[in-house]
């Protein structure tokens, strides 16, 4: 079976898929980075999630890779599929050629084989950007919640759809060279809190993070983050929005606080 450009053709002869998978266990001093090759018969609507599980069951129980939800929401199965970061659970083998190369996401610490530690990176980013609502008033449990327009709620939700899979970070040239660069996921998070009226930080408060060396001006404009994002977040829009916000904070309203 092959799926090309949305057209599904059924044939009696299943394709033989060849998987070239990166293997390395950094914990094991005997282990050296190399690739192993596995062959599988393609089944209808096979995803890389299904294929990897078959490989682990049939050939090598020691193969390391991460999965939790198998429905593109937990963000743990990001990997380099033929040179491009993608979620294994949402990538159909039918969309790929017969030879499939799987490598772990770069820019993150390798746990082993295809498994990487995205958590440390995201935690560090969250702490640095203080990615939580900053409320200056003490909490008043008796007060009525303030209303928010549907448009604004939608805009915030759009940025909130990020599943922290790390595909944008792995595709980013800058993030590959600089661990501290905020990259698509980090700046998207910043934009989410800048939009939120419940967060009292002003554009001027954000300025050092957004315009700093690891912020939006570290970006080279290669646009890969937006092209690989499995959730298709408008990351280029986020970057443009943040760039213009820095202009406002620097030249127009340095003391202008959000109301």
């Amino acid at each position: 079976m092959a799926r090309r450009d949305g057209v599904i053709t059924l044939s009696t002869e299943p394709r033989k898929l060849t998987f070239e998978i990166f293997r390395y266990n950094p914990e094991d001093p005997q282990s050296a980075p190399h690739t192993d090759t596995f062959e599988l018969d393609e089944t209808p609507f096979m995803t890389l999630y299904i294929a990897l599980n078959q490989i682990r069951e049939t050939f090598d129980p020691g193969l390391q890779f991460d999965f939790a939800c198998r429905s593109a929401i937990c963000g743990s199965c990001g990997m380099m599929v033929n040179g491009r970061p993608a979620l294994a659970c949402r990538t159909l083998t039918g969309d790929l050629p017969e030879n499939i190369q799987l490598y772990p996401l770069p820019a993150f610490k390798l746990v082993g084989d295809l498994s990487v530690d995205t958590g440390t990176w995201f935690r560090e980013m969250s702490e640095r950007t203080e990615a939580w609502i900053h409320e200056r008033q003490p909490f008043d449990e008796g007060a009525t919640e303030e209303r928010m327009s549907d448009e604004l709620a939608d805009a915030i939700y759009e940025n909130d759809r990020c599943i922290e899979c790390g595909c944008c970070v792995a595709s980013c040239g800058v993030a590959n060279l600089d661990d501290a660069f905020l990259a698509g996921a980090g700046l998207n998070r910043v934009a989410r809190f800048m939009l939120d009226p419940r967060d009292t930080r002003s554009d001027a408060d954000w300025f050092d993070i957004v315009a700093g060396e690891q912020g939006v001006f570290g970006c080279l404009g290669m646009m890969a983050c937006a092209d690989v994002c499995p959730k298709e977040l408008p990351l280029l829009d986020v970057y443009a929005y943040l760039r213009r916000k820095t202009l406002g904070a620097r030249f127009v309203s340095e003391d202008d606080k959000k109301t």
């Binding site: 050629p97 595709s171 590959n176 290669m222 646009m223 890969a224 092209d227 408008p234 760039r243």
Partner: protein
Amino acid sequence: MTQPAVSSAKRQLTHEIISGGSGLLLALFMWGHVILVGSILTGERGFDWVATMLEDYYIAQPAILAIFALFVIHAVYAARKVPAQLEERRRLQSLAKGLRNSGREHVPTRTKHSPFRPHLESMLWIWQVRTGFIILVLGSFHLVLIGIDIFTPLYGDITGLESISSTARVAAGLWIPYAVLLLCVEFHASVGLYRLAIKWGADLWLSRAAMHRIEQVIFWVVLAVGALTLVVLAGWVDPPLAFLLDGGGA
């Protein structure tokens, strides 16, 4: 304890404005440049008239100094983000090549935000660096050459920029570096404008697909006019617009 006078973030913003702004000005100048040199398409009289005007009214002399300054400023500030280590550049290159080559086989989705699969822009950035370095070398040579043409008449007994000497030296072999320079400049400028537009206004007026299309139209149109100008300068083709200066008669 002493506070730094300007914060790192403010400096980053200033650098970004300088590199983007100088690039924008240079790209706009290049369109003007196409029109000025394009005067050769009307024949040698047209070319000489433009050159004499620019020199007699002292437009050319300050202009070339300003362009040279912008050229150097842009080189310094745009190059600040080019990785210094060869290993880092190789890393970027393999990443960009992987992204370019991976997308040929599968085209999962084309959305408003990301219309391009395979992803090419990372590779385009690397080519901008490469063409940038070529422009730095060949462009400096070109600017010095034209600078000599423009400034020596102020001190010596010769005329400035003129069609006779310009066409003669282009025909004699200068067309080779000029052809390379033309291709590099048009690529570098059109991709640069596209990237600049995305960086500051991806969510404004036009979609990314539209901006990409405009970029390609600009590239091919300006390249075609530039190539035609070059072959006319080299004397291989007669000026196609010569009839404009013939007073309407054949």
